[in-house]
Each structure stands twice: as structure tokens, then as C-alpha cells.
């Protein structure tokens, strides 16, 4: 290779180099990894409970006035499941899957075909499924069917190189949608399947169809938390439970032999193969597990919306799911959940943002922010290296702030209608597209990048290391 790596850095002693700054993220990570398992649960359970209670007491800065906040959170839970599943494929095994929406569709259509009155395969009407538990029975079936479809798609295609695989999976995703559109006898074509089953739980006088039905609007003034929750909130709780179960399973897989094999394949497939990792087998596993999680999410979607049609499974959704994984940080389970939150929540939140009162002030503010942004960019380009400490942090935050503000203002101006309404949620693809490009150039590892860490016996090792060097991040003290 180049000669610079061969020469020992004799002239510059290691101590003279500025150590990589350990940010807040690293501090939290180190702290978390140093905790024992019960301590992690002691922190995690209250955090999860707080998250679960969020839709009941929505803080005003988070609330989505135009949408039911519980439903938005339910969508977030579904997207989080998808992001975790796609993360197994893209983040952990390094296989770019652009047709993930296909698995989501297979899961949704499994439930829809078995329980919708429009479907010839409907089993709830005198078949072997009883309407009261049909959806719950279909959930494992949907997971199974999608896992098998992942296996069927994966076994011929996983021998392809990375970018070819991306295009083939893209084709698969589109084929699934076209099948759903064209097999009219089965799927009712573009009219879709309506009346899909949902869980009938908690049926009472006021809620004749149970708490999961769309009729349950919740009582925001009730003191009883269970009465307060609308059906969206119940779906959010269910989704959250599923997310936690899947996280536990995937986390254990990640720390096991399978997870180590995935990392090896992702980093260098040939080297992994030489070291005795059966690459194809583990790639197929990743594909199948990812598909099954996508199917689970699809089944939840079908139950919640109670209606599925092909346009809900457009290929652009695949790209959106990929956005969640890439923005959150490929390979980092909690990062991609945050990415899913952005994807699900921001478009809904942005619809109720009114930044400007008139078009001309919008242009004025847009001009100001763009000029400031460009000015900061030029400053960064020529003087960036000299900025230290707080000045550096301030410049970066100001750049991010003005950049985001100019994008939002541009959107407000573009979509400005009479009366001051600006539905910025419509521009989500523009914003996510810009985010993807900027991300890949400036921070390809995502907002919350995954760190290489010890997988097997990691906890014990981190605790042992931590005990001897209290207060120092891992890897600093030798």
C-alpha cells in the first residue's frame, strides 16, 4: 500500500495527538455497557413505561394536532419493527434490500386474505378461524409465511453481489405489489381487502368491539388510564411489546455465533468464508429473520387499519424504511428505532407547523437563513480547522440549525396556500432525500453509529475493564 502507513510515527509521539473526543453518546454508551443486567432492566423498565404513557399525556411540543397522537405512535411502533428487521439485513449482514416493503406486504396480505370478507380464502366466515381470535391466530401464520417467502427469494438471489442484490430485491418488492394489484380474484385488485380482522379484547358496554377497534376513541378526561387510551394507543402498546420481544431476540442473536458471522460477512465476505463462516447460510438466515419481522409488522398494520390495498405497498415505502435505518445508524438497534421515529413522526408533526404568515416574509426569512448558512459553510471551509472547543460546537449547531430552517422555510414557501396553511408533511420525500445525501457525505454511519464491541461475554469484559479504570472510556486507559 502507500508508504505513509509503513513509516513508524516516530516524529509525533502518540501523546501529542489530540485524543478523539468522547462525546455524550459515548459516555452514555460506556455507562450503559458497564451496568449489570438487573441494573439495565431497572433503568430500562421505567423508561419503557414512560414511553408507553406518552400518548396518554402528550406534551404540547410533541403532540400532533392534525392526527391522533396514539395512532402516530402506533405507526412509529410498526416502523420501529420494520427498522429492526431491515437493520438485521442491511445493518448487521450488510445486504442492501430495496424490496423490504414486499415482505411487509406479504405479512399484511396473509392476514387480509385469511380474514377479509372480500377474499375467496376468508376463513372467518364459517372456516377454521373464529372472528374473535382470528387476528391473533394469523399473526404467527403471517410471520411464518413471510419467513418462507424470504427463504424463497433469498436462496437464488443471495449469491449475487451487493448492488445487484439491491436491484433484484427492488424488482421483487415491485412484483409483490403488482401481483396484489393484478390477481383480482384473490386480492380484489386495487380496491383492496376491507374488514380485516383485529383483536377483540376488552369488549364492554361502551366499547362493543373491544379496545383495539377504531370505535374506541378514548376519553381524554378520564382518570382511568385504560379508559383514557384510544385504540391507537392500544395498538402502540401492542407494537411496543412486540418491539421489546423482537429486540430481545435480535439482541441475543447479535451476541451469538450468528451475529458474529453476520458482522464478519458484512466486513469482508471472502475473508469470512476463508475463516470457515458459511456465508451463504448466514446471509439466508439474516434475510429470513428480517423478512419474518417485516411480516409481523405488516400483520399489525393490516389489523390496525383493517383495510389493505396495493398502493399502501409502493416501492417508495421501501426507500422510506431504508431512510429510517440509514438515518438512525446502520447496525445500531436503538439508533434505527430513533430513525423509525423520525420517519413516522416528523411528516405528521410537520403538517401542523406554520412557520410564516405570508409568502413575502417567507422569502425574506428564507434569504436570511440561506445567507447565514452559506456564510457559516464558507467559514467552516476556510477556518474550520482553527475553531476549537465551544466555538466549534457553536458553529456546527448554528450550521445545522440554519440548514434545517432553510429547508423548512423553503418548504413553507413552496407549499404556501391562501390563509397561511403550509402542509410541510407533503414534502417528506424531499426532506428525506436531502437527509440521505447529506448524511452519506458528512456522516455515512448515521446519527447514532454502531460501535465495534465485544459480542460474546461482552458484558463481563466491559465490567472487568471498567472496574480497573473507573471514569475512563473503554479503550483509553491501557
Amino acid at each position: 500500500m502507500s508508504t505513509t502507513t509503513a513509516t513508524p510515527p516516530a516524529s509525533t509521539p502518540p501523546a501529542a495527538e489530540t485524543p478523539p473526543r468522547a462525546g455524550l453518546g459515548d459516555a452514555i454508551r460506556t455507562w450503559w455497557e458497564g451496568l449489570s443486567r438487573p441494573a439495565q432492566w431497572a433503568v430500562g423498565v421505567p423508561a419503557i413505561i414512560a414511553l408507553a404513557l406518552l400518548p396518554l399525556f402528550p406534551p404540547s411540543f410533541l403532540d400532533t394536532p392534525n392526527y391522533n397522537f396514539g395512532l402516530v405512535m402506533a405507526e412509529f411502533a410498526m416502523f420501529a419493527l420494520i427498522a429492526i428487521g431491515l437493520n438485521v439485513v442491511v445493518g448487521q449482514a450488510g445486504l442492501l434490500d430495496l424490496g423490504y416493503v414486499g415482505f411487509y406486504a406479504v405479512g399484511a396480505y396473509t392476514v387480509g386474505l385469511l380474514t377479509s370478507p372480500n377474499s375467496p380464502w376468508n376463513q372467518t366466515d364459517g372456516g377454521w378461524l373464529d372472528p374473535s381470535w382470528a387476528w391473533l391466530a394469523c399473526l404467527p401464520l403471517a410471520i411464518l409465511v413471510t419467513a418462507v417467502s424470504g427463504l424463497i427469494l433469498g436462496s437464488p438471489t443471495l449469491r449475487l453481489r451487493g448492488d445487484y442484490l439491491a436491484i433484484v430485491t427492488l424488482g421483487f418488492g415491485e412484483i409483490v405489489r403488482l401481483l396484489a394489484d393484478n390477481l383480482h380474484e384473490l386480492t380484489n385488485g386495487s380496491l383492496g381487502l376491507s374488514g380485516v380482522a383485529y383483536p377483540h379484547i376488552g369488549e364492554s358496554e361502551e366499547k362493543p368491539n373491544g379496545v383495539f377497534s377504531a370505535g374506541n376513541t378514548g376519553d381524554p378526561d378520564s382518570a382511568n388510564l385504560l379508559d383514557r387510551a384510544s385504540y391507537g394507543t392500544y395498538w402502540f402498546w401492542f407494537g411496543l411489546a412486540m418491539v421489546i420481544i423482537v429486540l430481545l431476540i435480535v439482541g441475543n442473536l447479535e451476541r451469538s455465533r450468528v451475529g458474529r458471522a453476520w458482522v464478519a460477512i458484512r466486513e469482508d465476505e471472502d475473508a469470512a468464508e476463508v475463516m470457515g463462516v458459511p456465508a451463504f447460510k448466514f446471509k439466508l438466515w439474516a434475510f429470513t429473520i428480517g423478512a419474518a419481522i417485516g411480516g409481523l409488522s405488516g400483520a399489525i398494520y393490516a389489523g390496525q387499519v383493517q383495510f389493505i390495498n396495493p398502493t399502501g405497498f409502493n416501492i417508495i415505502n421501501s426507500m422510506l424504511f431504508l431512510c429510517a435505518v440509514v438515518i438512525g445508524g446502520q447496525g445500531n438497534k436503538l439508533g434505527v428505532i430513533f430513525g423509525a421515529f423520525i420517519i413516522a413522526y416528523l411528516p405528521k408533526r410537520l403538517t401542523s407547523v406554520n412557520l410564516v404568515d405570508s409568502e413575502s416574509t417567507g422569502y425574506l426569512w428564507l434569504g436570511v437563513t440561506v445567507v447565514v448558512f452559506v456564510g457559516l459553510l464558507v467559514l467552516w471551509k476556510f477556518r474550520g480547522g482553527q475553531l476549537l472547543g465551544w466555538a466549534r460546537t457553536l458553529t456546527i449547531s448554528a450550521m445545522v440549525f440554519t440548514g434545517v430552517m432553510s429547508a423548512l422555510l423553503l418548504g413553507s414557501v413552496l407549499l404556501f396556500r391562501q390563509g397561511g396553511a403550509q402542509s410541510l408533511g407533503d414534502l417528506k420525500y424531499l426532506y428525506f432525500g436531502i437527509a440521505l445525501v447529506v448524511m452519506m457525505i458528512l456522516r455515512p454511519q448515521g446519527l447514532f453509529p454502531v460501535r465495534q464491541k465485544l459480542l460474546a461475554y461482552g458484558r463481563q469484559v466491559y465490567q472487568a475493564v471498567r472496574r480497573s479504570t473507573v471514569g475512563e472510556p473503554i479503550g483509553e486507559g491501557k
Partner: protein, 344 residues
């Protein structure tokens, strides 16, 4: 009850036809139509194949370059004083060809500059940083979103007649009319225009790549970037030129496509065609110029046969199935993948 209905019986019953007699009856008509579509696919496929040959990168946003070309030629026609309407202008052969040629030049300018701009803005910073191949693909998807939404939302602000959520009202210069019949197949003036234009452009590209100094540079970089750089070939210039050629051909294809399917001009109109053109490039052997041309024609024809055989709604499925099948059984395509070795 319904459980006894097997999937196969159900499919055979209605959703998928298998009308091979129709294919035999209409063989020549389908072939002519297929070659017309195939010429357009071939021109777009060249863009994919050249960029892949030089950079080993699937330029996913190429479909949006094509889409911009459709709007570019529309703007060109608007500049020349034509307005959108249900009626065609029909000004005689010479004037029509001249105006279409000028519109094509505008489309080529828009697409070509968009392709070069795309390379500058999105890909060059990544190359400088030595990013992983997946980063390029994800960037391309992001740019694809950005360009689509640009036409969807920003273009109507600049000119209320352009862009927006709905398909563009087309400007028609010619009505398709049958010129002559060939073995029972009617050949329209539109088909002649498309095929002739595509053949001329393909020949020009072939000469440019295989007979000129620029082309030698492109082939050299495709074969071995490091050695080519040592021999005095500017890699950055070659990459820019490659994107430019691909973009210009996509712009030309966009004009031809707009003549063939006037209501096809919409912000999302590039996606499916882009995938098909990519399938064509893979079919012929990605990275291989002649492969892209051959693959485009083959895919166009196969798609026509398939759509009559199985039913018109399966048309897009045929293209995807061809793509998957080629990648599974012969990933290097019909002519094999190499731009560098195509001709010394």
C-alpha cells in the same frame, strides 16, 4: 368451501392469461412495437452501462435524469411557441423533424447538465472520501427523491404550467399515422422517427467510445483506473464525460418517449422506465456498450410478447422477471460485462 380452490386453478381461471395464439397472430406487429420501445430502453441503458463500466456504480438516479429530459424537451417546445393541447400540429415532415430535433437538443442539454451536476454534487464528495459502494447507492436514492420532488413542488413555482402532481398536458407535433405495412404490421411515422433517431445516436455513441480519443480514455479508465491515470488520462474528466454522454442520451430518449407516449410526462414517470433500462443493461451485460443496445431491443420485444401472452397488466412484471432470471442464470449478461475489452 373456498379452501379447496387452489392458487394454481385460480390463477389459470382468470388473472393470468396464456394466449400464445395471439402472439403468433400479431408477431410482426408486436416486434415492431417492441423495437420502438426497445430503442428507447437502449438509449437509457447506455447511461447505466457507461457509468457502471467506469465507476462500478449503479447510478440509481439515472431514471430521474431521464425524467428531467422529458420536462426539458417540453420546455424546448414551449420556447419555440408550441402550446399544450389535445390536437397535434402536423406541420409537414421537414418542419416537424427540425422542431423535434431542436426540442431533443434542449432535452439533451437539461439531462446532460443534470447528470454532470448530479455527479458533482452527490458522487464526487463520496469518491473523495472513499465511501463504500452502498453509500453511493443510498445517495443515488436520495438524489432521486430530491429530483422528483423538485419537479413535483419547485417547478410549478417557477412556471405554473410545468411540474406538479399531475401528468403534463402534452404538446403533440405529429399524429401517429401508418406509413407502410410490413408482413401485416403497420409501421407508423412515430415508430420510424424513434428507431431512426435511436440508431443514429447509437452509432454516434459507438464511434465516440470506440474511435475517438475521448472514448479511448473512457475505455482505459474502465479497464484499469490506476494505469490509465499513469498514462495521462484524467480520471475526473473521464467520469464527467461518462455522466455527460449518459445524460445526453437519456435526454434524447426522453424526447422520443414523449413522442411515443405523450401523457407520460410526470414527475414520477422515470422510475419504472429506469428500472427497465437497467434490466436491459444487465440483460446485455452491464458495462458493455453494445450489450446495452442489444439488451434494450431484446427487452422491448420480450416485453411486448409477454404482455400479449399474459395480459397487459403483467407488462411490468415481465421486465422484472427477465431481470431476476438474467441475474440468476447469467449475471454477466448476454455479451459479458466489459467496457474496457469491448474493442481495443
Amino acid at each position: 368451501m373456498t379452501t379447496t380452490v387452489s392458487a394454481g386453478a385460480l390463477l389459470a381461471a382468470g388473472s393470468i392469461g396464456f394466449d400464445y395464439q395471439a402472439v403468433i397472430d400479431q408477431f410482426w406487429r408486436l416486434t415492431v412495437d417492441g423495437i420502438t420501445y426497445g430503442s428507447i430502453y437502449a438509449l437509457v441503458a447506455v447511461g447505466y452501462t457507461l457509468v457502471y463500466g467506469v465507476l462500478r456504480l449503479i447510478n440509481f438516479a439515472h431514471s430521474e435524469i431521464f425524467m428531467l429530459g422529458m420536462f426539458g424537451q417540453l420546455i424546448g417546445l414551449m420556447i419555440f411557441g408550441f402550446t399544450a393541447g389535445p390536437d397535434a400540429y402536423n406541420q409537414g415532415v421537414v418542419l416537424t423533424v427540425v422542431y423535434l430535433g431542436l426540442a431533443m437538443v434542449v432535452g439533451m442539454l437539461v439531462s446532460g447538465s443534470a447528470a454532470v451536476g448530479l455527479e458533482r454534487v452527490a458522487y464526487r464528495p463520496l469518491r473523495r472520501r472513499g465511501a463504500k459502494p452502498l453509500a453511493f447507492l443510498i445517495t443515488a436514492i436520495g438524489m432521486s427523491f430530491v429530483l422528483q420532488e423538485f419537479v413535483h413542488f419547485l417547478l410549478p413555482k417557477i412556471d405554473p404550467d410545468l411540474g406538479g402532481a399531475n401528468a403534463q398536458q402534452p404538446i403533440q407535433l405529429v399524429t401517429p399515422s401508418v406509413q407502410f405495412s410490413f408482413a401485416g404490421a403497420d409501421v407508423t411515422n412515430v415508430a420510424i422517427l424513434i428507431v431512426v433517431a435511436a440508431v443514429v445516436l447509437a452509432l454516434l455513441t459507438e464511434i465516440l467510445i470506440n474511435r475517438t480519443k475521448f472514448g479511448r480514455g473512457i475505455r482505459a479508465v474502465a479497464q484499469d483506473p490506476d494505469t490509465a491515470t499513469l498514462m495521462g488520462v484524467s480520471r475526473e474528466r473521464v467520469i464527467m464525460l461518462t455522466f455527460l454522454i449518459g445524460g445526453v442520451l437519456a435526454g434524447a430518449a426522453a424526447m422520443l418517449y414523449a413522442v411515443k407516449i405523450p401523457p407520460g410526462i410526470i414527475y414520477s414517470g422515470g422510475f419504472i422506465l429506469g428500472i427497465k433500462a437497467f434490466a436491459a443493461a444487465v440483460l446485455g451485460g452491464i458495462g458493455n456498450l453494445r450489450g446495452a443496445l442489444l439488451g434494450g431491443l431484446l427487452l422491448g420485444v420480450v416485453e411486448q410478447y409477454g404482455q400479449i401472452l399474459l395480459g397487459i397488466e403483467w407488462r411490468d412484471v415481465v421486465a422484472f422477471v427477465v431481470l431476476v432470471a438474467v441475474l440468476m442464470f447469467r449475471p454477466t449478461g448476454i455479451l459479458g460485462e466489459s467496457l474496457g475489452k469491448a474493442r481495443v
